[in-house]
């Protein structure tokens, strides 16, 4: 392996690490990859796609879009380019994107002069489910230009708009927590933060409760009251400086991945200012709520992601989420089926 090979190898490894730090639905990290030299075949992991909470695989594809964007940004930071192809795919398809890494960084340095900067931002990126500082300035979202022509951003900052969307988020969590199968699936994903785990969420950061001498799933089921969670979450969304909805022209896996890529750009921009975010899947996934989100945007486009951004006021709701080591995301070709 010559120096150039070593450099690109390092860049790809760095990018895979960066990608593995992307946010995902309930921190399921539903991505995997097959590496063929400088080509990364991006796959959806069946076992890490939520069975109840993600019946269409939309949430998994949104997450994979974020994985891809983090990879792209890291590769660019290393001075290479990543050509991303998101082919048309169906819900059942597992291979959802290809990333071809090209370029010779010697002589040109199109990336960030400080390659550690992106990793730093990625590591600072945080989900926080608590209250946010209402007066935070998020002007940078005004006039945000989406990179995919399929995706459009709607940001809501007035109290009326935020209140309407916050109510939908509240209803979403109430409905979700009222469904026995959904409760069980969520319970299967929670842990105490002192426990070793690779996917899922610390219960402390989800509910703001402290560890007790009961298994986390059991504690979650005992504490997750639909009505009180509805009120609490609606209040937290109402207090956020901004609620963002990303919508698309089409409603297929390709559009979901494009939406995820766009979302990662926004979340990382927010992380630069040490702002946190919180994504609400309920109003998007629950068929009776999605039309109301659509109506709130005043557009015919299909809402795909709803989240708030802001400066967190309750640090106990912000816990570093664990990750599957990036090398373990690689799967052998034979296991694709």
């Amino acid at each position: 392996m010559n120096n150039s090979d070593r450099a690109i190898e390092q860049a790809i490894n760095d990018a895979l690490l960066a990608a593995s730090l992307a946010p995902s639905a309930h921190n399921t990290q539903p991505w995997a990859y097959i590496r063929e030299g400088n080509l990364i075949r991006v796959l959806r992991s069946i076992e890490r796609t939520l069975g109840v909470g993600d019946p269409t695989t939309r949430e998994a594809c949104l997450s994979i879009g974020m994985f891809i964007k983090c990879f792209e940004l890291s590769i660019a930071d290393s001075g290479y380019s990543a050509e991303v192809t998101v082919p048309f795919s169906l819900v059942a398809d597992l291979e959802v994107a290809f990333i071809e890494v090209t370029g010779d960084p010697s002589g040109t340095s199109p990336g960030n002069p400080d390659p550690s900067h992106l990793l730093d931002v990625l590591q600072r990126r945080q989900t926080n489910r608590g209250l946010y500082e209402p007066s935070e300035d998020v002007e940078w979202l005004d006039g945000w230009k989406c990179q995919s022509e399929d995706v459009e951003l709607f940001s809501f900052t007035t109290d009326d708009d935020k209140s309407m969307l916050a109510d939908l988020v509240g209803q979403g969590v109430r409905l979700a927590l009222s469904l026995p199968a959904m409760r069980d699936e969520l319970a299967s994903l929670v842990h105490w933060k002192s426990e070793p785990f690779e996917i899922g969420m610390p219960l402390e950061a989800m509910s703001g409760i402290e560890e007790i001498n009961v298994a986390a799933p059991k504690a979650f089921l005992a504490s997750a009251d639909p009505k009180s969670e509805e009120l609490a979450l609606a209040e937290r969304y109402r207090s956020a400086p901004v609620i963002v909805v990303l919508s698309t022209v089409r409603d297929d896996p390709q559009s979901w991945i494009e939406t995820g890529r766009e979302c990662a750009r926004i979340l990382l921009r927010a992380a630069q200012d040490n702002l946190a975010h919180c994504i609400a899947a309920g109003p998007i996934e629950i068929p009776t709520l999605a039309p109301l989100v659509r109506a709130a945007t005043g557009s015919e486009l299909r809402p795909q992601l709803l989240f708030r951004v802001g400066r967190p006021l309750e640090s106990n709701f912000s816990v570093k989420s664990p990750r599957i080591p990036w090398r373990e995301l690689e799967i052998a070709e034979g296991h694709l089926a």
């Binding site: 269409t56 082919p87 048309f88 169906l90 022209v249 089409r250 409603d251 297929d252 486009l301 299909r302």
Partner: protein
């Protein structure tokens, strides 16, 4: 290729007509009235179906008995479309197990009804059918056929029914029916053998062969408007007695190729039993005097077909389906007087009388 209807050939564009359904299968979450429907479907058509220009895709199937050419998608897509509404009453895995099965059906009276239910369900992508008979008007009380088909071999009527529903099915036809010299060829490799023949000798011989080859046997028998299903799991129980041991195997083995009426009736009696409906009992006593043959109702044939199809599905999907007899009674389910004590007592009396008359006519079973 552009096919047009002409005076002697009819053309059906089933593929073109199915594109909407196919999209709904791939995108059940995109409602037809949703604003994103058109754009999402357009991209899907573009990427999956050549922008909707599908003339050169799929297959063109010719149905000579209908003088009709039908444009269809490929086999997998067709199968997926045709069984879409089975989901999730039948899971994808079960559907694949069912379609992957090879089922043999001998005797195409109740057998035709069973075949109809099986093929409707998307079971048995591979079939062997056997019957030596042709359709007669007297069959039309129970066979889903047509007066236009009178005189046509029942195997041909069955084949048409199969291909009408699934033009991709693989069908092997035994149009002379089953016989000693083709039993093994018919049975070997079957996942299930559906035995609905009238010929008592062949009923016996085919079971001995099925047991030797480890093929499970399913048989439904009409009983008035009701039916019962007999299951003999020779695949799981190589020693399981023929006809559940209702008749000793030495007697079965000595059954001649052309048994006398008395031998035939006594064997049938032992196999079926006497717990049959009163009208069935009366009718059986009139066979050969006032009636030409054992009576059979369309209701019972249809019910039997459904029961066989259900039983076959359980067997090929690996569900519990033990050897034994399973009664299916419309009378019990729908006639409120059926279980009343006076009705039960009356039936008991009638059965005793029938038994007595039967023994007088054909000789006691233990004679």
């Amino acid at each position: 290729m552009r096919l047009k209807n002409s005076s002697d050939t009819h053309f059906v564009d089933a593929f073109g007509q199915a594109l909407d359904d196919l999209f709904r299968l791939d995108f059940p979450f995109v409602a037809t009235e949703a604003p994103e429907y058109a754009a999402t479907k357009f991209r899907w058509l573009d990427e999956r179906w050549n922008g909707g220009s599908i003339d050169s895709l799929g297959v063109y199937a010719y149905f000579p008995w209908r003088r009709t050419i039908v444009h269809l998608p490929d086999r997998d897509t067709f199968q997926r479309l045709r069984t879409a509404r089975n989901k999730n009453l039948v899971t994808e895995q079960e559907q694949a197990q069912m379609y992957g099965a090879t089922v043999g059906i001998a005797g195409l009276s109740v057998g035709l009804s069973a075949l109809n239910s099986l093929v409707l369900a998307g079971a048995a992508g591979s079939l062997r059918i056997g019957d030596h008979d042709v359709l007669s008007i007297a069959n039309l009380n129970r066979l889903p056929a047509s007066v236009c088909d009178v005189g046509v071999p029942k195997t041909e009527i069955a084949e048409r029914r199969i291909y009408d529903l699934d033009p991709f099915a693989e069908v092997e036809v035994f149009d002379q029916g089953l016989a000693d010299d083709n039993l093994d060829r018919f049975l070997r490799g079957l996942n299930v053998f559906v035995e609905e023949m009238d010929d008592i000798y062949l009923k016996i011989a085919s079971r001995f062969a099925a047991r030797r080859l480890g093929v499970p046997v399913v048989m439904a028998t009409d009983n008035g408007d009701n039916s019962f299903v007999d299951v003999e799991r020779y695949d799981l129980e190589p020693e399981y007695p023929i006809f559940h041991g209702r008749v000793s195997e030495s007697i079965l083995q000595s059954c001649p190729r052309n048994p006398s009426l008395r031998e035939k009736v006594r064997l049938a009696d032992a196999i079926v039993g006497r717990d049959i409906t009163p009208r069935m009992q009366q009718s059986l006593q009139a066979v050969g005097t006032r009636l030409p043959a054992w009576p059979q109702l369309g209701n019972a044939a249809t019910l039997s077909g459904v029961a066989v199809s259900y039983t076959v599905r359980r067997i090929v999907c690996g569900e519990e389906m033990a050897s034994g007899r399973y009664p299916i009674s419309m009378d019990y389910s729908l006639d409120r007087t059926y279980s009343r004590s006076n009705s039960v007592a009356l039936r008991k009396k009638q059965t005793a009388e029938f038994s007595k008359s039967f023994d007088v006519l054909f000789g006691a079973d233990n004679e």
